[in-house]
Assembly symmetry: C2
């Protein structure tokens, strides 16, 4: 789409850390509250209840109403390995190769991420450690329609497979029967076992509780609309879930020597996701920031998704001028961005000071787009400042640990003294007596 000249002016926010109202303006810019509502929550509870009660019948009913698919039977909403492989074989070779290269690189990276079981023997001869095991079965939610990204299928399924998950179930809504062949091809490459063409809260409920046809899974991952996010929050505890994602964001830091067109395009690549996406550039060279602003104005009309990009940059984008490297790092850690591009010289020297970021792209050549598709690391990343406490999706999300404790008779006797004393301090005397029974000499039947 080419915009008309009157649309070309874009009013992107300019902030300066010098300004007295900088803090409050930055807070306003970053503010994001998940847009849930009591109404959505009640609707979702109703759908979950119906799926728990009526199983497949409820799924068929909701799919008829919401996706306009008149299936008589769950087999009509099931795609097996053969169908996925056919989608893969049917791709143009160049696309098939690109997908395969990406899958291979993502697999290689994640294989290095596998936690291992460990144990040791303490000075009393007790064995202590942790046993790491994969989840049995995982469900991947893939949105339908325009946000159906084959790359997301790879990023969600491959870590699960590397973790050793035995069965991977995918759900993807196909409103009016429209199927995305690239998504199915990606599912084949990522070794997804079965696909159900289901979506919304009903798909989440089916994965969480199981129906006659859809098996109950142990964890549900993948992005979705407000109904999907609300349903995931509601079933959390019954199954594991990944983070509830907000809009995607990037923080680019430029030292003033990166080509302004490159930076403009990097901001566009974030902004084109949707109008709530957030793209922020930080620098300390005001001439350079002006040059990037000019690149944005010049390049925007040539972009296919110019309207979305323009809306996103006007609503949530910003060019921030700060005093230098030190302030830039303070901003990074305050914003805790999903994506951080360090478009600076000697980017590695910044690493030790970056405390919060989902993914860090170092140097001018490392555009976020490379990481989104094929560099290897996962593109499912913590948004809205949650990088303060969460991590990229990884193999560790598809494994869990069991503590291992084996006491020797001597070890049990010695630990028993301590445990008994502490248990009695908490008035838990059965705990105390259970420990005392193992204390040497008291172990015989009284």
């Amino acid at each position: 789409m080419v915009m008309s000249p009157t649309d070309l002016k874009i009013d992107i926010t300019r902030l300066s850390t010098d300004a007295s109202d900088f803090d409050s303006r930055l807070n306003d810019l970053l503010a994001w509250e998940g847009v849930s509502s009591a109404e959505v929550a009640a609707r979702v509870e109703e759908i979950i209840g119906a799926v728990r009660l009526d199983g497949d019948a409820a799924l068929l009913d909701y799919t008829r109403r919401f996706d306009r698919l008149d299936a008589q039977d769950m087999t009509e909403l099931t795609l097996g390995a053969g169908r996925l492989e056919a989608a893969y074989r049917g791709l143009p070779p160049a696309q098939r190769d690109a997908l395969s290269v990406a899958a291979e690189r993502v697999r290689n990276y994640h294989q290095r991420q596998k936690p291992e079981s460990w144990h040791y023997t303490d000075e009393l001869g007790n064995l202590l450690g942790q046993q790491v095991t994969p989840l049995d079965r995982v469900g991947i939610y893939v949105p339908g329609g325009k946000a159906a990204y084959p790359s997301s299928v790879l990023m969600n399924a491959i870590p699960a497979r590397v973790a050793g998950v035995k069965e991977i179930i995918m759900v993807v809504p196909t409103p009016d029967g429209v199927v995305n062949e690239l998504v199915l091809a990606a599912a084949h490459l990522a070794q997804v076992d079965r696909v159900f063409t289901l979506g919304g809260a009903q798909a989440v409920a089916a994965l969480a509780y199981g129906t006659e046809t859809v098996p109950r899974v142990d964890k549900i991952v993948g992005p979705g609309n407000i109904y999907v996010a609300t349903a995931k929050r509601a079933v959390f505890g019954q199954v594991g879930i990944d983070m509830i994602a907000g809009p995607s964001e990037i923080l680019v830091v430029s030292d003033g020597t990166t080509d302004p067109d490159w930076l403009a395009m990097d901001l566009f690549s974030q902004a084109e996701h949707d109008e709530d996406a957030q793209a922020i550039l930080v620098g300390w060279d005001s001439e350079h920031l002006n040059a990037v602003a000019a690149s944005i104005e010049r390049l925007l009309p040539s972009m296919e998704r110019a309207e979305i990009i323009g809306a996103s940059l006007e609503r949530r984008g910003a060019l921030i001028e700060c005093r230098g490297r030190h302030e830039a790092i303070t901003l990074i850690n305050r914003i805790a961005p999903e994506h951080l591009e360090l478009s600076v010289i000697d980017a590695q020297s910044w690493l030790a000071e970056v405390r919060h970021a989902g993914a860090i792209f170092l140097g001018r050549y490392t555009s976020e787009a490379l990481g989104d598709y094929c560099a290897g690391p996962n593109h499912v990343l913590p948004t809205s400042g949650t990088a303060r406490f969460s991590s990229p999706l990884g193999v560790y999300d598809f494994q869990k640990r069991s503590s291992i404790i084996q006491c020797t008779a001597q070890g049990a006797a010695q630990l028993g003294e301590t445990a008994s004393r502490l248990a009695r301090g908490e008035s838990l005397t059965a705990h105390a007596r259970s420990a005392e029974l193992r204390i040497k000499g008291q172990g015989d039947r009284a």
Copy 2:
């Protein structure tokens, strides 16, 4: 408390895997739905809203109403390092030593659990990896009253400290001003920085959003009542949270040669927590199960918490007879217990087949009580079957990872081809063009 003879008969459920209705009876036994309600959720939303709006004033108000503490100022609800140390110094030496031994063993164990940053260089010269960093600030919720356990303070705070968390904030309600000195002493040992005598949803809200006095934290851990659990679920996303815990449970597997009194006491030690706690014994020797039932009857009247134990065992306990080791392992993996005691010969040989359990206690000498206090592993464990997908609380819960990507010019050019093709397949052309700008020869200003 000694029960009267008429109370002595305890009617503990006996199940056999042979019975045709075994599956449904087991399902009924295990069923546990978190007891939330729309009413509680609405009340909690109101409290969170008030704390976000009015900060300290709301905290003082709720503390006055719920805990009957008429504080004029937050300083009256704040305990600093000096007060914690005084509590520690004031303990009887034997108790102080026991607490110190436990803290030291827990610290040693968790130090082995620390994930490390890693990176590698791929064949194109690109640097790929993950940087592991601690959370900045963590909040620990400690329940007041009878369930105030100093051991829980150690188990929640020590992994955070080992992870490198800079500041640990603890909240603990002190209704009517009753302070638990052991809890404060444990906070001193675990190097908690500050304690606020706050509880309920208002404490969770303060930690999640911050007030004038209570600093916003990055993650909230620790158990609490239904208001606390509901509040944690509500603020999830704004901050990280640990699992929402259900009642505690144990599954003991006996091969028939462990002293029945030991087993009875192990079941009691779980059942004494509260009437919803669950203690199950599995074995294949029916004479032995009878002997354990007899031990339960004989020992119960001598227990201080006999009423709670009796109620718990009658409501949620069971002795299950199965056909042998193979069926026992199937039961373990189906139940996915929080605590698993393998009171069997050669317990280690079972490990490879145990897929789901929070903590595994191997051999007759390893009573759960040792793990609850001082063996080293964490006693905060996944309940209600959530061991299918979650892990003991650990150092990893107080750290997060950032993906690291640094492409060389050659690497960016080669990856750019793949990224561009995939981005165009997803109609994300700004992504494609951002990658293409880095392809060698196209990198110069057009």
